[in-house]
Point group: C2
Chain length 173, copies 2
DNA sequence: TTTTATAGTGAGTAATCACTTGCAAATGTA
DNA sequence: TACATTTGCAAGTGATTACTCACTATAAAA
């Protein structure tokens, strides 16, 4: 991976996240990355290939982040760790997550699959804790996770700490 | 509002929701609506004007839907009605909501303002019920609402009824 | 009847789109 | 050194883009 390749990926990630994939021309990406437009196609074949490369990068990162949750044994800790996820995102990664969340509405497969192991871990935790309907509870937890992440990425709630506390409260017993 | 104007708005709504605003050409909209391309610009000035007209339509509809929640007095009923919102969406309105939720990531102002009265009603309800931090609780409730709506619009959870039940359970006391 | 206004068309327009090509410079590798 | 490969650029390509313009159709008002 040369420096210019990285520049292209970084510029594309920013622009795709800010303006959307379709609204971002390869010309804009090239200018933002400080390279010729042709180089994008040399390295990534076409515009979709560029998006695919970004998603590959993203998938690797998310695997690392989510691994900790899935490997946890204590059921209550699993739930708490899932709830904490959106609150411990590194602000440097915001553009990455914004891209993922925005693309969800255009491309289906990318997001749901990625969270499947988390959902399974949650379901398992709820089973261990004796919840009435672990399947529904895990579905609900992922909805909450999604909603919290959206709020943080879009309008940064005033008192994040208090919101997290209120969330955990709902899963005390 | 002539029939062709309505056709344009309806076709644009569908296409914008399915493929995104930027990825939908005015040519496509005209063909789907069965009118000449020029007519779009006669009635809506430009492509953004078309989007603005759609959002105006949408804003009127949401006002009607949300009015019922805001006018409710009993605090527990307010919370339940907010939670139920995503579950009682008319499937015919799915494309409308998908467009709104997708556009959230490109245009900021449209969505947050619209939910402000709901958030206020929720905060008021939590205050009446003696919750520790009504501000944080109302923020959390809106996150949950957002997450639930997203799940329903994107991948239609298996047992919606059970999820709603689990949600209400969290606000029993 | 003439005028005015609105609704609608279809063929343009310049600009921008994703993408290709030919060629030069840099970088390995023997 | 010589040669092969990769990296990079500039200048293209045809297709598509949002939008304009000159024009017609309909119909109500003057």
């Amino acid at each position: 991976m040369t420096e210019k390749q990285e520049n292209i990926l970084s510029a594309a990630l920013t622009l795709f996240a800010e303006q959307g994939f379709a609204a971002t021309s390869t010309n804009k990406v090239a200018k933002a990355a400080g390279v010729s437009e042709g180089l994008i196609f040399r390295h990534f074949k076409n515009k979709e290939g560029l998006l695919a490369a970004i998603f590959e990068m993203v998938t690797e990162r998310t695997k690392v982040i989510l691994a900790d949750v899935v490997m946890t044994n204590d059921p209550k800790e699993v739930i708490y760790k899932i709830l904490e996820l959106p609150f411990v995102i590194n602000p440097r990664d915001y553009r990455m997550w914004r891209l993922i969340y925005a693309m969800k509405w255009q491309i289906q497969q990318y997001n749901t699959e990625k969270m499947e192991p988390v959902k399974l871990a949650a379901k398992n935790a709820f089973e261990k804790l004796g919840y009435d309907n672990p399947e529904a509870e895990s579905e609900l937890l992922l909805m909450l996770l999604d909603g919290a992440a959206t709020a943080i990425l879009l309008h940064e709630p005033r008192d994040k700490e208090a919101v997290l506390l209120a969330m955990k409260e709902k899963y005390k017993h």
